[in-house]
């Protein structure tokens, strides 16, 4: 199983899902991470405000930040290799990188709120 590392922008907490004005992208991504982990993916998240050393000690992330600035965040590494920068991965991205079957991703996506009714 590949290791997926997400280097988040500075956020107030580990997922950024808190308070009254929540970014829907963060909510969706947190749910996708939970789903991928439940399907066996190994995912680590690093928050710039809480774990700055993780950014400084990673040559790929450090280099991108130095050349581009924080615009480049979030950065995703898969087994240490740059996989995506500038936006959060989708559930399909996580499934593809982790080797989780796409069928599982589709089933999970359709398991709730499908067919015009919501749970």
């Amino acid at each position: 199983m590949k290791t997926i590392q997400i280097f988040d922008p500075a956020m107030c907490c580990s997922s950024g899902v808190c308070g009254v004005d929540v970014d829907q992208n963060l909510v969706t991504f947190a749910a996708d991470v939970d789903w991928a982990k439940q399907n066996g993916a190994q995912i680590e998240r690093f928050n710039l405000s809480q774990q700055p050393m993780a950014f400084a000690e990673n040559a790929v992330v450090k280099g991108l930040l130095e050349r581009t600035g924080q615009t480049v965040l979030p950065v995703t590494l898969v087994d240490g290799q740059l996989a995506l920068a500038g936006r959060y991965p989708s559930r399909d991205d996580l499934a593809r990188w982790a080797g989780v079957q796409a069928q599982a991703a589709e089933t999970a996506t359709a398991s709730c709120c499908a067919g015009g009714s919501c749970c």
Binding site: R67, T68, T71, A83, G86
Partner: protein
């Protein structure tokens, strides 16, 4: 070195002028390309900017073509998860509604450098992802 094609197209009048919206975006595009050159060089990717002029008759067929930016063949709205909007421009564009970009709940008439850089970085890293079906 792999190429990251960036196409920016906008209306240019018969007098050779363009509107403030496109003029401003043009300056931001130039700055973004310089930033992307530095950012992507270690990744083996080089941005290649193509600037295209639209004449009035082409513009009037589809006004949203003007001030459109394509990176690797896709709009920046695609890369940023945004949407195309429109608003009245009132200069070289006359009474037509011209292109805006809506990202994260904000609407942009002049596309800022940081959005362009972000879109370029996303497109470039997508090019590097070996698990993506090309």
């Amino acid at each position: 070195m792999r190429s990251l094609p960036i196409l920016w197209q906008r209306l240019v009048s018969t007098q050779g002028t363009t509107c403030p919206r496109c003029h401003g975006t043009g300056e931001e595009v130039q700055r973004a390309v310089q930033t992307l050159e530095q950012a992507l060089k270690p990744l083996g990717i080089a941005p290649e900017l193509q600037i295209k002029e639209l004449d009035e008759s082409t513009f009037l067929k589809d006004t949203l073509q003007s001030n459109q930016i394509l990176i690797a063949g896709e709009t920046i709205e695609h890369w940023l998860g945004g949407q195309t909007g429109s608003s009245r421009c009132c200069n070289e564009c006359g009474d037509n509604d011209c292109r805006t970009v809506e990202v994260g709940g904000q609407s942009y008439e002049v596309i800022p450098e940081d959005l362009l850089v972000r879109a370029g970085v996303i497109a470039a890293t997508r090019m590097l992802d070996p698990t993506l079906v090309k």
